[in-house]
Protein backbone atom coordinates (compact mmCIF):
# COMPACT_ATOMS: atom_id res chain seq x y z
CA UNK A 1 0.00 0.00 0.00
CA UNK A 2 1.66 3.28 -1.00
CA UNK A 3 2.30 5.89 1.68
CA UNK A 4 -0.66 8.18 1.06
CA UNK A 5 -2.70 10.95 2.50
CA UNK A 6 0.40 12.54 3.97
CA UNK A 7 2.60 15.48 2.99
CA UNK A 8 6.16 14.34 2.30
CA UNK A 9 8.53 16.03 4.75
CA UNK A 10 10.50 17.77 2.00
CA UNK A 11 7.40 19.17 0.31
CA UNK A 12 6.53 22.66 1.55
CA UNK A 13 2.86 23.42 2.21
CA UNK A 14 2.82 26.44 -0.15
CA UNK A 15 -0.12 26.38 -2.59
CA UNK A 16 1.10 25.44 -6.04
CA UNK A 17 0.92 28.15 -8.70
CA UNK A 18 0.39 25.56 -11.43
CA UNK A 19 -2.77 25.52 -13.54
CA UNK A 20 -5.59 23.20 -12.44
CA UNK A 21 -4.78 19.66 -13.63
CA UNK A 22 -1.11 20.35 -14.32
CA UNK A 23 1.00 17.26 -13.60
CA UNK A 24 4.06 19.18 -12.39
CA UNK A 25 2.94 19.13 -8.78
CA UNK A 26 2.17 15.40 -8.83
CA UNK A 27 5.80 14.86 -9.84
CA UNK A 28 6.96 17.34 -7.16
CA UNK A 29 5.19 15.19 -4.56
CA UNK A 30 6.73 11.96 -5.81
CA UNK A 31 10.18 13.60 -5.91
CA UNK A 32 9.79 14.67 -2.29
CA UNK A 33 8.56 11.23 -1.23
CA UNK A 34 11.69 9.69 -2.79
CA UNK A 35 13.99 12.30 -1.20
CA UNK A 36 12.43 11.51 2.18
CA UNK A 37 12.65 7.74 1.72
CA UNK A 38 16.31 7.93 0.68
CA UNK A 39 17.02 10.35 3.56
CA UNK A 40 18.97 12.73 1.32
CA UNK A 41 17.06 16.00 1.90
CA UNK A 42 19.94 17.56 3.83
CA UNK A 43 22.58 16.93 1.17
CA UNK A 44 20.60 17.51 -2.00
CA UNK A 45 20.90 20.50 -4.32
CA UNK A 46 18.03 21.06 -6.72
CA UNK A 47 18.42 23.01 -9.93
CA UNK A 48 15.41 25.04 -10.89
CA UNK A 49 15.20 25.70 -14.62
CA UNK A 50 13.38 28.42 -16.50
CA UNK A 51 9.77 27.61 -17.25
CA UNK A 52 6.60 26.76 -15.32
CA UNK A 53 8.71 24.96 -12.72
CA UNK A 54 11.09 27.88 -12.12
CA UNK A 55 9.47 28.32 -8.68
CA UNK A 56 10.64 24.86 -7.60
CA UNK A 57 12.08 26.48 -4.45
CA UNK A 58 8.60 27.50 -3.28
CA UNK A 59 7.70 23.83 -3.06
CA UNK A 60 10.70 21.60 -2.49
CA UNK A 61 12.49 22.07 0.82
CA UNK A 62 16.07 21.45 -0.29
CA UNK A 63 18.84 23.91 -1.22
CA UNK A 64 17.99 25.12 -4.71
CA UNK A 65 19.95 27.07 -7.30
CA UNK A 66 18.36 28.83 -10.24
CA UNK A 67 20.01 27.87 -13.52
CA UNK A 68 19.84 30.00 -16.65
CA UNK A 69 17.49 28.70 -19.36
CA UNK A 70 18.78 25.37 -20.64
CA UNK A 71 21.92 25.34 -18.52
CA UNK A 72 20.82 23.19 -15.56
CA UNK A 73 22.95 20.21 -16.61
CA UNK A 74 26.05 22.39 -16.93
CA UNK A 75 25.38 24.10 -13.60
CA UNK A 76 24.75 20.66 -12.11
CA UNK A 77 28.06 19.48 -13.54
CA UNK A 78 29.85 22.38 -11.83
CA UNK A 79 28.21 21.56 -8.51
CA UNK A 80 28.81 17.81 -8.66
CA UNK A 81 32.44 18.23 -9.75
CA UNK A 82 33.09 20.73 -6.94
CA UNK A 83 31.14 18.77 -4.32
CA UNK A 84 30.78 15.09 -5.34
CA UNK A 85 29.31 14.34 -1.91
CA UNK A 86 26.17 16.37 -2.68
CA UNK A 87 23.16 14.84 -4.44
CA UNK A 88 22.27 16.92 -7.49
CA UNK A 89 19.10 16.85 -9.57
CA UNK A 90 17.83 19.08 -12.34
CA UNK A 91 14.13 19.66 -12.95
CA UNK A 92 13.55 20.96 -16.46
CA UNK A 93 10.87 21.30 -19.10
CA UNK A 94 11.18 19.94 -22.64
CA UNK A 95 12.12 23.38 -23.99
CA UNK A 96 14.77 23.90 -21.31
CA UNK A 97 16.31 20.44 -21.54
CA UNK A 98 15.90 19.60 -25.23
CA UNK A 99 15.79 22.89 -27.10
CA UNK A 100 18.09 25.62 -25.81
CA UNK A 101 19.81 23.27 -23.37
CA UNK A 102 20.23 20.22 -25.59
CA UNK A 103 23.96 20.74 -25.90
CA UNK A 104 24.40 21.05 -22.15
CA UNK A 105 22.17 18.05 -21.54
CA UNK A 106 23.74 15.69 -24.07
CA UNK A 107 27.29 16.54 -23.07
CA UNK A 108 26.57 16.12 -19.36
CA UNK A 109 25.03 12.75 -20.20
CA UNK A 110 27.89 11.78 -22.48
CA UNK A 111 30.41 12.67 -19.79
CA UNK A 112 28.44 10.46 -17.43
CA UNK A 113 27.98 13.29 -14.91
CA UNK A 114 26.72 11.79 -11.70
CA UNK A 115 23.54 13.85 -11.55
CA UNK A 116 19.84 13.08 -11.98
CA UNK A 117 18.14 15.02 -14.78
CA UNK A 118 14.35 15.13 -14.76
CA UNK A 119 12.62 16.38 -17.91
CA UNK A 120 8.92 17.15 -17.83
CA UNK A 121 7.65 16.70 -21.38
CA UNK A 122 4.34 18.49 -22.06
CA UNK A 123 5.21 19.17 -25.74
CA UNK A 124 4.94 22.95 -25.41
CA UNK A 125 6.57 25.95 -23.80
CA UNK A 126 4.06 26.25 -20.97
CA UNK A 127 4.99 29.40 -19.08
CA UNK A 128 5.21 31.58 -22.18
CA UNK A 129 1.81 30.56 -23.46
CA UNK A 130 2.09 27.28 -25.38
CA UNK A 131 4.57 27.68 -28.19
CA UNK A 132 5.96 24.77 -30.24
CA UNK A 133 8.77 22.79 -28.65
CA UNK A 134 11.14 20.06 -29.89
CA UNK A 135 8.72 17.47 -28.48
CA UNK A 136 5.55 18.93 -30.00
CA UNK A 137 3.67 16.05 -31.67
CA UNK A 138 3.34 15.91 -35.44
CA UNK A 139 0.39 18.08 -36.55
CA UNK A 140 -0.14 19.31 -32.98
CA UNK A 141 -1.41 22.89 -32.92
CA UNK A 142 0.50 25.38 -30.74
CA UNK A 143 0.59 29.17 -30.70
CA UNK A 144 3.59 29.07 -33.06
CA UNK A 145 2.36 26.17 -35.16
CA UNK A 146 -1.21 27.43 -35.53
CA UNK A 147 -1.79 25.13 -38.52
CA UNK A 148 -0.28 22.15 -36.72
CA UNK A 149 3.33 21.00 -36.57
CA UNK A 150 4.37 20.33 -40.16
CA UNK A 151 7.34 17.96 -40.44
CA UNK A 152 8.47 19.79 -43.58
CA UNK A 153 8.68 23.02 -41.59
CA UNK A 154 9.17 22.13 -37.93
CA UNK A 155 10.65 18.69 -38.33
CA UNK A 156 9.92 15.73 -36.08
CA UNK A 157 9.38 15.24 -32.31
CA UNK A 158 12.74 14.86 -30.54
CA UNK A 159 12.88 11.50 -28.71
CA UNK A 160 15.31 12.38 -25.97
CA UNK A 161 15.08 9.18 -23.94
CA UNK A 162 15.78 7.07 -27.01
CA UNK A 163 18.82 9.22 -27.81
CA UNK A 164 20.25 9.22 -24.31
CA UNK A 165 19.75 5.46 -23.96
CA UNK A 166 22.56 5.03 -26.46
CA UNK A 167 25.09 7.05 -24.42
CA UNK A 168 27.65 5.02 -22.47
CA UNK A 169 27.76 7.74 -19.83
CA UNK A 170 24.06 7.22 -19.15
CA UNK A 171 23.41 4.67 -16.40
CA UNK A 172 19.65 5.13 -16.17
CA UNK A 173 17.22 6.32 -18.82
CA UNK A 174 13.47 5.99 -18.62
CA UNK A 175 10.24 7.68 -19.57
CA UNK A 176 7.16 7.65 -17.39
CA UNK A 177 3.93 9.52 -16.88
CA UNK A 178 1.54 10.34 -14.08
CA UNK A 179 -1.78 10.26 -15.93
CA UNK A 180 -3.08 7.07 -14.30
CA UNK A 181 -2.79 5.80 -10.69
CA UNK A 182 -0.71 2.87 -11.90
CA UNK A 183 1.71 5.14 -13.71
CA UNK A 184 1.97 7.41 -10.67
CA UNK A 185 3.12 4.44 -8.59
CA UNK A 186 5.51 3.42 -11.37
CA UNK A 187 6.81 7.00 -11.68
CA UNK A 188 7.83 6.98 -8.05
CA UNK A 189 9.78 3.75 -8.54
CA UNK A 190 11.55 5.30 -11.53
CA UNK A 191 12.47 8.39 -9.49
CA UNK A 192 13.79 6.27 -6.68
CA UNK A 193 15.83 4.18 -9.11
CA UNK A 194 17.32 7.28 -10.75
CA UNK A 195 18.52 8.65 -7.41
CA UNK A 196 19.85 5.24 -6.35
CA UNK A 197 21.92 5.18 -9.53
CA UNK A 198 23.35 8.59 -8.61
CA UNK A 199 24.01 7.55 -5.03
CA UNK A 200 26.02 4.60 -6.30
CA UNK A 201 27.99 6.86 -8.65
CA UNK A 202 27.06 4.85 -11.72
CA UNK A 203 26.73 7.87 -14.02
CA UNK A 204 24.06 10.10 -15.55
CA UNK A 205 20.46 9.29 -14.70
CA UNK A 206 17.76 10.68 -16.99
CA UNK A 207 14.08 10.54 -16.26
CA UNK A 208 11.41 11.94 -18.58
CA UNK A 209 7.80 12.35 -17.52
CA UNK A 210 5.02 12.96 -20.02
CA UNK A 211 2.85 15.63 -18.49
CA UNK A 212 -0.48 17.28 -19.16
CA UNK A 213 -0.72 20.99 -19.92
CA UNK A 214 -4.47 21.60 -19.95
CA UNK A 215 -4.38 25.36 -20.43
CA UNK A 216 -2.04 25.35 -23.41
CA UNK A 217 -3.53 22.25 -24.95
CA UNK A 218 -6.86 24.07 -24.59
CA UNK A 219 -8.41 21.06 -22.85
CA UNK A 220 -10.09 20.48 -19.54
CA UNK A 221 -7.84 18.75 -16.99
CA UNK A 222 -9.42 15.33 -17.45
CA UNK A 223 -9.18 15.33 -21.27
CA UNK A 224 -5.61 16.59 -20.98
CA UNK A 225 -4.77 13.78 -18.59
CA UNK A 226 -6.25 11.29 -21.06
CA UNK A 227 -4.39 12.99 -23.94
CA UNK A 228 -1.09 11.98 -22.33
CA UNK A 229 -1.86 8.51 -23.70
CA UNK A 230 -1.62 10.07 -27.18
CA UNK A 231 1.77 11.51 -26.26
CA UNK A 232 2.77 7.99 -25.25
CA UNK A 233 2.16 6.84 -28.83
CA UNK A 234 5.00 9.10 -29.96
CA UNK A 235 6.98 8.87 -26.74
CA UNK A 236 6.73 5.26 -25.50
CA UNK A 237 6.66 4.84 -21.72
CA UNK A 238 9.54 2.52 -21.02
CA UNK A 239 12.73 1.95 -19.09
CA UNK A 240 15.39 2.24 -21.77
CA UNK A 241 18.41 1.64 -19.61
CA UNK A 242 18.95 0.69 -15.99
CA UNK A 243 22.46 -0.36 -15.08
CA UNK A 244 21.37 -1.24 -11.59
CA UNK A 245 19.20 -4.03 -12.89
CA UNK A 246 21.89 -5.14 -15.33
CA UNK A 247 23.87 -6.34 -12.32
CA UNK A 248 26.32 -3.43 -12.24
CA UNK A 249 25.88 -2.04 -8.75
CA UNK A 250 29.02 -0.03 -8.04
CA UNK A 251 30.98 2.40 -10.19
Amino acid sequence: MPEVFRFPKSLKKTLFHYCPGCHHSIIHRLLCEVIDELGIRERTIGLASIGCSCFLYFYIDVDILEAPHGRSCSVGTGIKRARPDLVVFTYQGDGDFAAIGLGDSLHAASRGENITAIMINNTVYGMTGGQVSPTTLLFQKTTTTPYGRDPKKEGYPLKVAEILAGFEGVAFCARGAVNTPQRVLEAKKLLRRAFEIQLRGLGFSYLEFLSACPINWKMDPISATRYVDKLAETFPIKVFKDQLSEGKNEA
Binding site: P20, I26, L185
Partner: protein, 67 residues
Protein backbone atom coordinates in the same frame (compact mmCIF):
# COMPACT_ATOMS: atom_id res chain seq x y z
CA UNK B 1 -9.35 2.58 8.39
CA UNK B 2 -7.92 6.02 7.73
CA UNK B 3 -10.33 8.93 7.88
CA UNK B 4 -9.81 11.31 4.91
CA UNK B 5 -9.96 15.07 5.20
CA UNK B 6 -10.35 17.49 2.26
CA UNK B 7 -8.15 20.60 2.44
CA UNK B 8 -10.63 22.77 0.60
CA UNK B 9 -8.34 25.77 0.25
CA UNK B 10 -5.91 23.69 -1.86
CA UNK B 11 -8.49 22.42 -4.36
CA UNK B 12 -8.46 23.88 -7.90
CA UNK B 13 -11.52 21.99 -9.11
CA UNK B 14 -9.54 20.00 -11.72
CA UNK B 15 -11.78 16.97 -11.16
CA UNK B 16 -9.07 14.29 -11.50
CA UNK B 17 -9.98 12.76 -8.13
CA UNK B 18 -13.64 12.53 -9.12
CA UNK B 19 -12.68 10.96 -12.47
CA UNK B 20 -10.38 8.32 -11.01
CA UNK B 21 -12.15 7.46 -7.72
CA UNK B 22 -13.11 3.80 -8.22
CA UNK B 23 -16.02 4.02 -5.82
CA UNK B 24 -17.28 7.31 -7.31
CA UNK B 25 -17.71 8.83 -3.83
CA UNK B 26 -16.43 12.28 -4.82
CA UNK B 27 -18.05 15.18 -6.66
CA UNK B 28 -18.04 18.96 -6.91
CA UNK B 29 -19.64 20.59 -3.86
CA UNK B 30 -21.44 23.94 -4.07
CA UNK B 31 -18.70 25.63 -2.03
CA UNK B 32 -16.02 27.83 -3.58
CA UNK B 33 -12.66 28.41 -1.89
CA UNK B 34 -10.75 31.69 -1.56
CA UNK B 35 -9.21 31.16 -4.98
CA UNK B 36 -12.72 30.91 -6.41
CA UNK B 37 -12.51 27.24 -7.37
CA UNK B 38 -15.46 24.89 -6.86
CA UNK B 39 -14.26 22.56 -4.16
CA UNK B 40 -14.45 18.75 -4.28
CA UNK B 41 -16.60 17.05 -1.69
CA UNK B 42 -17.76 13.62 -0.58
CA UNK B 43 -20.96 12.28 -2.15
CA UNK B 44 -20.91 9.19 0.03
CA UNK B 45 -18.11 9.26 2.55
CA UNK B 46 -19.15 5.97 4.06
CA UNK B 47 -18.43 4.18 0.78
CA UNK B 48 -14.85 5.46 0.75
CA UNK B 49 -12.32 2.71 1.60
CA UNK B 50 -9.29 5.06 1.61
CA UNK B 51 -7.74 3.28 -1.36
CA UNK B 52 -5.59 6.38 -1.91
CA UNK B 53 -6.21 6.83 -5.63
CA UNK B 54 -7.56 10.33 -5.11
CA UNK B 55 -4.35 11.20 -3.25
CA UNK B 56 -2.23 9.70 -6.06
CA UNK B 57 -3.99 11.64 -8.80
CA UNK B 58 -4.49 14.95 -6.97
CA UNK B 59 -1.98 17.57 -8.10
CA UNK B 60 -2.69 19.74 -5.05
CA UNK B 61 -2.51 17.32 -2.10
CA UNK B 62 -6.09 18.09 -1.14
CA UNK B 63 -6.71 14.67 0.49
CA UNK B 64 -4.95 14.06 3.81
CA UNK B 65 -5.64 11.74 6.69
CA UNK B 66 -7.43 13.32 9.59
CA UNK B 67 -4.71 12.81 12.21
Amino acid sequence: MKKIKILEERCKGCGLCIEFCPKKVLGFSEKRNLQGYRVVGFYAKEKCNACGICFLMCPELVFVSEE
